[in-house]
Subunit: 152 residues, 2 copies
Amino acid sequence: MSTDENLASEHQESEARPAEARVEAFIGVREARRSEVAEDYVELIAELIHEQGEARPVDIAARMGVTAPTVAKTLGRLARDGLITRAKYRSVFLTEEGRALAKECRERHEIVLRFLLRLGLDPETAERDAEGIEHHVSQRTLALFSDFADRN
Amino acid sequence: MSTDENLASEHQESEARPAEARVEAFIGVREARRSEVAEDYVELIAELIHEQGEARPVDIAARMGVTAPTVAKTLGRLARDGLITRAKYRSVFLTEEGRALAKECRERHEIVLRFLLRLGLDPETAERDAEGIEHHVSQRTLALFSDFADRN
DNA sequence: AATGATTATTAGCCGAAGCTAACTTTTTAC
DNA sequence: GTAAAAAGTTAGCTTCGGCTAATAATCATT
Ligand SMILES: [Mn+2]
Ligand SMILES: [Mn+2]
Ligand SMILES: [Mn+2]
Ligand SMILES: [Mn+2]
């Protein structure tokens, strides 16, 4: 017999089988959470390089709204994970992998933002919500958002 | 003179003033992240109480896809924060505050889910994305989602 | 070239949220 | 009513991502 055939032997409700799908959702969300900070950092680093020619920790800290030591520690993780390179007291560079991730994040961010604006949201709230939502949209949802923003 | 009048003295770009709005967005997202787990737990606890009559740690663990000790520790935080009450080796109860939060989360979850389905997303992906997105939609966005789901 | 201001790093603290291993309590089966 | 199974708890470990305080390096001004 299957491992969890009659888990709800007594209290079987009218639902099809939501529990199994639900647990997968939770696991997926926890997975997504683990890359949120890295995504925001590489996106911002790419922006700074584009806008200012280089990404300095002091500017990362200012734009992220965190302290310099927090930035330093996070950059350590990004370097460990192969997304950036850095030398002591120098500004930060994206690796190939980091650039690819940054591009992906920027595009996703823009699609979510355009979508929210098209829905009728004010720019400040749209920016705020997009910054959080962007990390939790699947490719399918992103495609639908993009269609909607273009179509309407 | 103001504290940050000419931060971008040299590299002033064409943007209006996105940096200040941006940092507020990041701060807001970090704030929202701090309640994600609590929200998912109280929502699930309310569901279990409704479906099964009681919320037992073993069922919370199964549905959340985490281990029993993780549940125990999280329940400790929820109790500390006044969202649940519990006695050793007994099932979990929501406080008034916990019930209120659970209701709010359930309604928000449903609006986001209905919205995604109405957009054309398949149910599994919709459930997955809703589980993450729900924690990052403002009241305004929620209202727009609700309107869209009803209208279309 | 010296010095003061700015920037960056390091050390060390904290809480959240995950885990395994070990133990206790409760429930179930016989 | 006892023994086994299930459920719950506790202890202790880890990583992440925040912080402050202290130190070190770089940059700018003269
Ligand atoms: Mn973001
Ligand atoms: Mn972003
Ligand atoms: Mn959720
Ligand atoms: Mn939910």
